[in-house]
Symmetry: C2
Subunit: 263 residues, 2 copies
């Protein structure tokens, strides 16, 4: 189980993949970014399930020994499809690790959940956490993804946006970052709370997914298979290349492949 | 020709429609926002042409006496389809009025063009203006639409984003705002240039489209048909209602209608 197939509607899942390579240094990533069909948030569940079926088949044929669904939307509607195609291979989704951790351990309340409009409107985190007895505050924070994709992590625009959003969320005991992109904002978010003297536990669905995959990679992978990583996208443009390098933290080769033939 | 059919992939076209009601106070708007299929930028031309065919048919059947395509992407690929469906009714697109004005009159150079990635990558403004002998600087400014849709027009995040973008564009003689949403940023953009003591002519494709439609409404419409305006969207959500009121400048009734049956 050294080769992990990671996929996302776009390139945000590269952040999860990168976190995974930090936690399990010898792992090889087979990444598929369905850039031709992003964002999944505005597609029907049936359409997303079709995409996921094709992508998982592609990744398994390419040699993936486990599958990590980095995309929140695909995780919400297509885990069963991914598992059906993956057969006996383990499938990890972006939602379960956070819900499992918050259920098995008690975190300080209220739990603030931030994500895209699609994720927050789906109510998936809020419903599960309220069912566990948590007080939950949810907030859609839609400008953060475009700001991160512009490369503006330490930019006054992002700082101003974060301030407005975190002010609106108010005091929380725990903050759940429920979006692939948000781990990149960990420093400015920590800074925001530190400046206010608030002690907030910060969890990220992307990092918890990477943790879950890394834990399952037993015995620990310590080789140097990273050079065996391969990255495909369904639509390749100069902008995507730039974004991929930004999310991966280093230039990387992107190959275009129409694994998903459905349009 | 009192009833103007205006359509857009989303709600940004309401800004154009509002500008039109200012220029031609008696006009009635029949608006269609194809919110179920936004953004058009990531769809194929064939798919956009299908949507446009259905939308124009819907607006004409609803009583529109002329058609204004507020959407840049649809204007780039589907004017002929719209005209074919509209028959003898006049069709106005979002691109031609700006190109016509810049061709018929000489504006100070260089011409800066800002818009979404899709618009800038299409090169439609740059190519035409260079062919006319203009020096042109193009810049994609993708975070502006999400910021405007968040309602953050006079927000430090938007000010910081504008500063970075306009700094990157550098000195221009004329700035062309090539996106439905950008008229809302006119004040902060003017402020930016004023603070630097630069005398920049600012044009907006949305305002020039409204001008073109208003000019064609001869003799001048001066009634009060505005109450006859009707607004449809293909997907209605609380967020869209909020956004529509924000763009229109007042609460408005949105009706859901699947004029576009294709998915």
């Amino acid at each position: 189980m050294r080769v992990v197939g990671v996929f996302d509607s776009g390139l945000g899942g590269l952040i999860t993949a990168r976190l995974l390579t930090v936690r399990a240094p010898g792992v090889a990533i087979h990444y598929y970014g369905d850039t031709a069909h992003l964002p999944y948030g505005d597609k029907s569940p049936a359409q997303i399930r079709s995409y996921v079926r094709e992508i998982v088949r592609f990744l398994v044929e390419a040699g993936a020994e486990s599958i990590a669904i980095a995309c929140n939307t695909a995780s919400a509607v297509a885990v069963d499809v991914a598992q059906a195609v993956a057969g006996s291979l383990p499938v990890f989704d972006a939602i379960s690790p956070a819900l499992k951790l918050l259920s098995s351990k008690t975190f300080p309340e209220p739990i603030g959940v931030v994500g895209t409009y699609t994720t927050i409107r789906s109510g998936i985190y809020g419903e599960h956490l309220r069912a566990k007895g948590y007080e939950v505050k949810e907030l859609a924070t839609p400008v953060l993804v475009p700001l991160i994709e512009e490369g503006w992590v330490d930019h006054p625009a992002t700082e101003a946006a974060l301030r407005t959003y975190l002010d609106a969320l108010g005091e929380v005991g725990t903050l759940l970052l429920a979006c692939t992109h948000y781990p990149l904002l960990l420093s400015p978010i920590r800074r925001y709370y530190r400046e206010r003297g608030w002690n907030v536990s910060i969890l990220s669905t992307a990092a918890l997914l990477a943790d879950a995959v890394a834990e399952a990679l037993a015995p620990p992978v310590l080789g140097s298979a990273e050079t065996a990583s391969t990255f495909w996208v369904s639509d390749l443009s100069p902008r995507f290349l730039q974004l991929a390098a930004h999310f991966w933290g280093a230039p990387l080769e992107l190959r275009e492949s129409s694994a998903v033939m459905l349009s």
